[in-house]
C-alpha cells in the first residue's frame, strides 16, 4: 500500500496549462482511501484490546458503519473518475452467484451483527453461474447494502434469479422504503440529471453506469428502484444481461 498513486495508477499526463482538477481529486481520493484503511486497522486492533463492556458500545457501530460508508463513497468517486477518462478496467468472469452474495454480506458482517440486523440471501437455482465483473458489481452492491443498513429495521435480504437470460440481483430491507419522488424520478438520477440528493443520487448514477458496462447482444444492464420489496421496504435491483 503506497501513498504515491503514480506507482499504481496509469495517471494521465498533466495538461500543459497546469493542474487538471479532476486528476488532483482522484489522486487525493486514492490517498484518502489508503489513509482510511490504516485508520480502520488501527481502530480494530485498539478496540479488540478493550474489555467487552467498553467495546460493545453504540459508538463502535457508528465508527464502523461510517467508515465503511466513507470507503464506499471514495471507491465510487474513483470509479466515476475512471469512467470519465475511460480508464475503468472491466474484467468480467464466470462466478457462482451464491459465492458472490456471501462475499457481499461478509464484508458487512460486524455492522450487521452489531446493529442486530438479520441478513440472508437466496439464489433461485442451485449452483447458478453468472458472467460479471466482481469488483465493479461488488462495489455497487456493497454501497446499496450499506445504505440499506441505515434504513432497515431488522432485516436485509439479497436475492438472485434469472429472467429472460438476465441475472437480477435484488437487495431489499424492511425499512420505510425509498421516498416516492425518488422512485418516480429514478430515471433522472440514473441519467445523472438530478444530483440534488448528493451521494444517494450519485450512487444510483454509478450503479447504472456499472450495470450498463455489462452487455450482451445489444442489451445493456440497468438498475431499478422499487418499494414493494419482499421485506416490505425498499428494493434495489441490478439487471445484468
Amino acid at each position: 500500500m503506497s501513498t504515491d498513486p503514480s506507482n499504481e495508477a496509469a495517471t494521465p499526463e498533466p495538461s500543459p496549462e497546469g493542474l487538471d482538477f479532476s486528476t488532483v481529486i482522484a489522486s487525493t481520493v486514492h490517498d484518502m482511501k489508503n489513509s482510511l484503511g490504516l485508520l480502520m486497522q488501527a481502530y480494530e486492533r485498539w478496540s479488540s484490546a478493550l474489555p467487552p463492556e467498553l467495546a460493545e458500545t453504540a459508538e463502535r457501530g457508528m465508527i464502523e458503519y461510517e467508515s465503511m460508508r466513507l470507503n464506499g463513497m471514495l471507491v465510487q468517486m474513483l470509479g466515476l473518475y475512471k469512467l470519465g477518462v475511460n480508464q475503468l478496467p472491466m474484467r468480467p468472469n464466470w462466478l457462482e452467484v451464491e459465492d458472490f452474495l456471501q462475499e457481499q454480506l461478509a464484508r458487512h458482517d460486524e455492522i450487521l451483527r452489531s446493529r442486530h440486523i438479520e441478513s440472508s440471501y437466496d439464489v433461485e437455482e442451485d449452483g447458478l453461474m453468472a458472467f460479471l465483473d466482481t469488483e465493479l458489481v461488488g462495489s455497487v452492491v456493497g454501497n446499496v447494502i450499506n445504505n440499506s443498513i441505515r434504513y432497515a429495521r431488522s432485516a436485509i435480504e439479497l436475492k438472485a434469479w434469472t429472467e429472460e437470460g438476465q441475472l437480477i440481483i435484488a437487495i431489499s430491507d424492511d425499512g420505510q422504503g425509498y421516498p416516492p419522488s425518488m422512485i418516480e424520478n429514478q430515471s433522472d438520477y440514473v441519467l445523472g440529471i438530478n444530483m440534488s440528493t448528493g451521494s444517494t443520487g450519485l450512487g444510483l448514477y454509478f450503479g447504472q453506469r456499472i450495470a450498463e458496462l455489462h452487455q450482451r447482444d445489444g442489451v445493456h444492464g440497468r438498475i431499478e428502484l422499487r418499494n414493494d420489496g419482499p421485506l416490505g421496504g425498499g428494493e434495489f435491483r441490478i439487471y445484468l444481461p
Binding site: 506507482n7 499504481e8 495508477a9 496509469a10 490504516l38 480494530e44 479488540s48 480508464q87 461478509a106 458482517d109
Partner: protein
C-alpha cells in the same frame, strides 16, 4: 468447516499495522503458522525455505518489487506450488488487475480494507476450489497435458461450478499439445457465448501464431472496444502490425499498451526494440531506460536493454560525437552492465566495442583502441560463439571502428555456423562482398539439401552420407551437425551400434555451444535426450 490449523500462511505488506491485523484475523481462524514479511524480496527468500499453503500479498509495497512481480518471480523460479493459494490484497483491485499478466494471475484479489468474515469466506472458497482442481494441477505439474484434458472433462462433468476454471486449463492443454483445430473450436464457442478476456487474448494470439493476421487483427480490435484497459490486446495488435512489417503502427500500439501499464519490463523492452528499428531514438532511449530501471530488482532483467540503451544514445548522434550527457549515460550504462554480468565474455566484448565506437567519434582514439583490444582478446576465446543477430551487430561495430579484417572473420564464422539460413546469408551479403565468405557454404548447403531430400524419402544411409560430407566441409555448422546426428539416430534405432552412437554423440558435442535463443535449441536437446536413452 475447513481446518486451517495445519496450513502455513505468509502475509506480506509494508505496513506493520496491516500485518498484525491480518495475523490476528488468521489466529481467530485457528491458524497457527503465520510468517510475515515487509518486502517482496523478503517474501521470495522466505518461499525458498518454506512451502506456504496460502500467501496474502499486498500489491503495492512502495519501494522494491510489487505483488505482481513477486508472483511472476515465484512462478519463474518454481518457488510456488500450484496448490498454493496466492491472494493479492490491494487498496484498488482494478489497477492491480490491469497490471497483471493473463498468464500469471493470482488466485484472487481481495480489496482492502477487509474484515475477518470476508477473509474467511474467500479463503474457504479458494481452498475448496484448489482441492476440486487438484487432479488438473497435479497433471500440470507433471506436464502431462493429456491427463490435464482428462481431468478437466471429469471435473466439469461432476461439478459444473468449476467449469470456467476447467475450460481455461483445457484451452492451455490443447495449446500445449498443438491441437489447433480443437483449441480454435473451444475458444470460438466460448467467445460466442460471452466475451471472456482471457479467451479473446488467447484466440487472437492463436491466429497470430498461425499467421492469420487479418483474423487476429479483427479479434484484437473488437476486443479493445469492449476492454480498452486490457494491455495484452494492444500487445496483440502491435504484433500483428509488426508481422506485416508495419513497424510504425506496431510501435503506436505498444505505446498505447504502455500508457495503461507502464511498469511492464517486457513491453518497454519490445517498444525500445521497435522504436530503435524505426529510427525513433528518443522513444527508444526512454523505453530502454525504463526497462533497465524496471529490471534492477527483477530476475527478468535483460542485459540487451543496457546494450540497446547505450547503442540508441550513440546512434542518436549519427556520425557526430554524442553530447557529453549522452556520453556519460553510455559510460554508466555499460559500466553497470560490465559489473552485473562481468563473467559473460560475450556481453563484455559487445559493451567494449560499443563504448569504443562512441569514444572514437569524440576523437578519443587511444581509449577506443584499448577497448577494442580488450574486446578482441575476449572474442578470441569465446566459449560460445554469438547468435547470428549478435554476430552481425558485432561485425558492424568492428567495421565502423575500421577493423575490417576482424569484422570479416566474425562474418565468416557466422556464415559457417548459420549459413544454411537464407536470411542470415542475406544479412551477411549486406555487410561483405567477399566471395570466400559468401560462397564458402554453397557446396555444403547443396549436399545438405540433397541429404534432407534423401531423408524425407526414408533413404537414411544415403542421407547420412550426404550430411557427413556437408559437415566435413563446414564442421561448425549447427544444422549439418544436427542433421547428421538425427540420421545416425534413425539408423541406431533399428540397429544398435557403438560406433555410430559415438559419432552421434560427437556431432552433438560439437554443437553443444548452440545459443539457447537459437530456434534449433529444442531440437538439439531432444536429440541429446534420445541418444542418452539408447
Amino acid at each position: 468447516m475447513i481446518d486451517y490449523s495445519k496450513k502455513r500462511f505468509l502475509v506480506v505488506d509494508d505496513f506493520s499495522e496491516f500485518r498484525t491485523s491480518v495475523t490476528g484475523m488468521l489466529r481467530l481462524m485457528a491458524v497457527k503458522n503465520v510468517d510475515a514479511a515487509a518486502r517482496g524480496e523478503e517474501a521470495i527468500a522466505m518461499c525458498r525455505n518454506t512451502a506456504y499453503d496460502v500467501i496474502l500479498h499486498d500489491y503495492n509495497l512502495g519501494a522494491g518489487k510489487n505483488g505482481q512481480q513477486v508472483l511472476e518471480e515465484l512462478h519463474h523460479a518454481g518457488l510456488i506450488s500450484p496448490h498454493c493459494i496466492f491472494v493479492m490484497c490491494t487498496a484498488e483491485s482494478s489497477q492491480a488487475m490491469v497490471m497483471s499478466a493473463l498468464e500469471c494471475e493470482p488466485d484472487a484479489y481481495l480489496t482492502k480494507p477487509f474484515n475477518r468474515a470476508s477473509l474467511q469466506q474467500r479463503l474457504d472458497k479458494l481452498v475448496e476450489r484448489k482441492l476440486a482442481l487438484k487432479p488438473i494441477l497435479d497433471a500440470q505439474a507433471k506436464r502431462d497435458q493429456n491427463a490435464v484434458l482428462a481431468a478437466c472433462e471429469q471435473i466439469m462433468a461432476s461439478n459444473k461450478r468449476f467449469a470456467p476454471q476447467c475450460l481455461r486449463h483445457k484451452a492451455g492443454a490443447l495449446k500445449a499439445l498443438g491441437k489447433h483445430a480443437e483449441l480454435e473450436a473451444l475458444l470460438t464457442g466460448l467467445i460466442a457465448d460471452r466475451p471472456m478476456p482471457w479467451a479473446l487474448v488467447m484466440l487472437g494470439n492463436h491466429w497470430l501464431e498461425r499467421g492469420e493476421l487479418d483474423r487476429a487483427e479483427e479479434i484484437f480490435t473488437s476486443a479493445i472496444r469492449q476492454f480498452p484497459m486490457l494491455p495484452a490486446l494492444f500487445d496483440g495488435l502491435a504484433a500483428v502490425h509488426a508481422a506485416r512489417g508495419a513497424t510504425d503502427k506496431a510501435q503506436e500500439y505498444l505505446e498505447q499498451g504502455l500508457r495503461i501499464s507502464p511498469n511492464s519490463l517486457q513491453r518497454q523492452h519490445d517498444l525500445g526494440k521497435l522504436a530503435k528499428a524505426n529510427g525513433d531514438y528518443d522513444k527508444a532511449i526512454r523505453a530502454f531506460r525504463q526497462a533497465v530501471d524496471l529490471g534492477r530488482h527483477s530476475q527478468f532483467r535483460n542485459p540487451d536493454d543496457h546494450l540497446d540503451l547505450a547503442a540508441s544514445l550513440n546512434e542518436q548522434a549519427g556520425d557526430s560525437a554524442p553530447a557529453p550527457k549522452a556520453l556519460l549515460e553510455i559510460r554508466q550504462t555499460l559500466g553497470d552492465l560490465g559489473k552485473t554480468w562481468k563473467d559473460d565474455a560475450q556481453l563484455v566484448a559487445r559493451a567494449n566495442l560499443l563504448h569504443a565506437n562512441a569514444l572514437a567519434k569524440t576523437g578519443d582514439q587511444t581509449t577506443a583502441d584499448k577497448l577494442v583490444a580488450e574486446a578482441s582478446t575476449l572474442m578470441a576465446d569465446l566459449p560460445t560463439f554469438f547468435s547470428a543477430d549478435v554476430a552481425l551487430e558485432v561485425a558492424t561495430q568492428l567495421k565502423q571502428l575500421g577493423r575490417e579484417e576482424q569484422a570479416e572473420a566474425v562474418l565468416s564464422t557466422c556464415a559457417e555456423m548459420y549459413g544454411d539460413d537464407a536470411k542470415v546469408m542475406d544479412a551477411i551479403a549486406g555487410q561483405t562482398s567477399n566471395p570466400r565468405i559468401l560462397n564458402a557454404g554453397v557446396q555444403a548447403q547443396t549436399l545438405n539439401r540433397e541429404g534432407i531430400q534423401a531423408y524425407q524419402q526414408q533413404a537414411f544411409p544415403q542421407a547420412l552420407e550426404l550430411f557427413r560430407q556437408a559437415r566435413e566441409l563446414q564442421p561448425r555448422n549447427i544444422s549439418f551437425a544436427l542433421n547428421t546426428a538425427q540420421s545416425l539416430l534413425r539408423l541406431l534405432l533399428s540397429e544398435p551400434s557403438a560406433e555410430l552412437k559415438a559419432e552421434c554423440q560427437q556431432c552433438l558435442a560439437q554443437v553443444s555451444t548452440i545459443p539457447v535463443t537459437d530456434p534449433r535449441h529444442a531440437r538439439y536437446e531432444k536429440l541429446c535426450k534420445t541418444v542418452a536413452s539408447l
